[in-house]
Amino acid sequence: MTAHTSAKTPAGGSGRSSAALTVRGSATGTALAAAGFLLVAGLAPYVLYPVFLMKVLCFALFACAFNLLIGYAGLLSFGHAAFFGGAAYIAAHTVKEWGWSPELGLLAATVVAAGLGLVFGLLAIRRQGIYFAMITLALSQMVFFLALQLPFTHGEDGIQAVPRGLLFGLFDLSQPLTMYYTVLAIFVGGFAIIWRTVHSPFGQVLKAIRENEPRAVSLGYRTERYKLLAFVLSASLAGLAGGTKAIVFQLASLTDVTWQMSGEVVLMTLLGGMGTLFGPVVGAALVVTLESYLAATSLPVPVVIGCIFVVCVLLFRRGIIGELLARMPKRGG
């Protein structure tokens, strides 16, 4: 509120401080939310099943990575499972067959996802809307086909019994709590990268492109290059999420490369609120929770999630967090 009112003062020297105030105001909110999240996430494994929480965190990072693309660059990818699932195979294979340490396996998974993202991006980035979505879908189907056919992925069986190993040769990840805090650290790191990207000079250009691409071009920005970088960043972090999931579940399987997985991440992001930083985290938590708890009941999971999605789109289109933010007192800028 203070930022909003101070904005009304005439410009000159004061305008600069008012702009800084706006940023500081939102930074306080973000810091509070982050502290709250860390507190809850830090204590959660003493209350809830750690494997469940780790699954939530992996999908939350995946959804956040996806959101970087759709929420801040305005690009709807329908092929993100290729990065998530593809990276899971890389992490599982390097750790299990080549005996790499988990951190190296995750690094390899992220790098391969980035490379895949570069290839997908170069092929798809010049197209918009449905064409962009369809090209990414087609490319991810090719990755699915490879995952089904290549010998190292073991087809329908997937790569099973992946050892969790020792992180940095020190921390035994077979201990559930050690594994949990490692996953939490990975999530926080990935989230920090996204937060920084959104609030960077690059993020400003990205938002300008999302808002009005022809205008960004007329201001001298070669927009494809910015979108390509956003795509590669998003793919890398989706890969980090997928690799982490493979280490946690000690498994890389076809499920994570299917087009349904690409759809699920869209669903998580929209439910939570696309274009908001915490929205995808909430969306991912909601979907994973529903899937886990409904699995024990006789209710058909897809139908329930489908109904929630329909209600969400009809009643609060901005998603859960998006709607909350919109109803809060408005801040300037």
Binding site: A20, R196, Q204, V205, A208, N212, A216
Partner: protein, 255 residues
């Protein structure tokens, strides 16, 4: 006019032609924009003025013909690159970034020369040094009280003003304005026209307009287009007395 030295012409089109599946939207247009002038391109609906504009700004590729900027052939140059050469355009439908603040709108244009536009690891705070310059530009178009408002919240006339501030942020040698006065109320037209006059003091302006009357006292040269071809060219006094223009254009009741 023919005696003018060649470097007096900052932007030139030679035999510019654009066909859309057999329909000739722009036919053999030769246009010379002199440095430091306000040049208006007018014509009734469907005269091809927007097409000419989009060709000059590289948002469309000509079927035939050549475009020269300061004597350099830019016919094949990409639209983002001509902006770096000093040729910056506006848009017919107001071109702001709606969910960025007024300040951020201008800052996006200012930040490119920093060379950090790909730096996703840097803080947004590295851009705060640009705020003084951004606020100066915002002041110049009388938008200071709205600096921290979202562009989407501005009324139409002020969006156009913001657009001009954003364009000015690049300090372009040539400003190309696509119907800068269209859709404005009378109270805004005068102010915006004065603003255009003011910013044109040390640069060249090429603007597309629908109405002859609004550009009458603003432009040094007026080019009248009809059905994709140049009908008349010259200062208002000459163009407005042209019999063909009277018939084809004034007859529509816009003058």
């Amino acid at each position: 006019m023919n005696a003018a030295p060649n470097d007096d012409i900052i932007l030139e089109a030679r035999g510019l032609t654009k066909e859309f599946k057999g329909f000739v939207a722009v036919k053999e247009v030769n246009l010379q924009v002199r440095r430091g002038t306000i040049h208006a391109l007018i014509g009734p609906n469907g005269a091809g003025k927007s097409t000419v504009f989009n060709l000059l700004t590289k948002f469309l590729t000509p079927t035939r013909g050549q475009i020269l900027y300061k004597g350099r052939d830019i016919t094949r140059t990409k639209p983002a690159d001509i902006a770096l050469m000093g040729l910056v355009r506006s848009f017919q439908i107001s071109a702001v970034f709606p969910h960025l603040s007024v300040l951020e709108n201008v800052r996006v244009a200012l930040q490119r020369p920093l060379g950090t536009s790909f730096h996703f690891w840097k803080s947004e705070a590295t851009l705060y040094d640009l705020h003084d310059r951004a606020l100066e530009l915002i002041e110049a178009v009388n938008l200071s009280p709205w600096a921290n408002h979202l562009a989407a919240e501005l009324p139409y006339g002020r969006k156009r003003a913001l657009e001009i501030a954003t364009t000015l942020a690049l300090d372009p040698e040539v400003m190309l304005l696509d119907e800068p006065l269209a859709g404005m109320g009378h109270e805004d037209i005068e102010g915006t026209a004065a603003l255009i006059k003011r910013v044109a003091a040390d640069r060249t302006v090429l603007m597309v307009e629908h109405n002859l009357s609004v550009v009458a006292h603003l432009s040094d040269t007026i080019t009248v287009l009809r059905r994709g071809e140049i009908l008349a060219e010259g200062p208002y006094e000459v163009v407005s007395k042209n019999a063909q223009v009277m018939e084809a254009y004034m007859g529509t009741g816009h003058a």
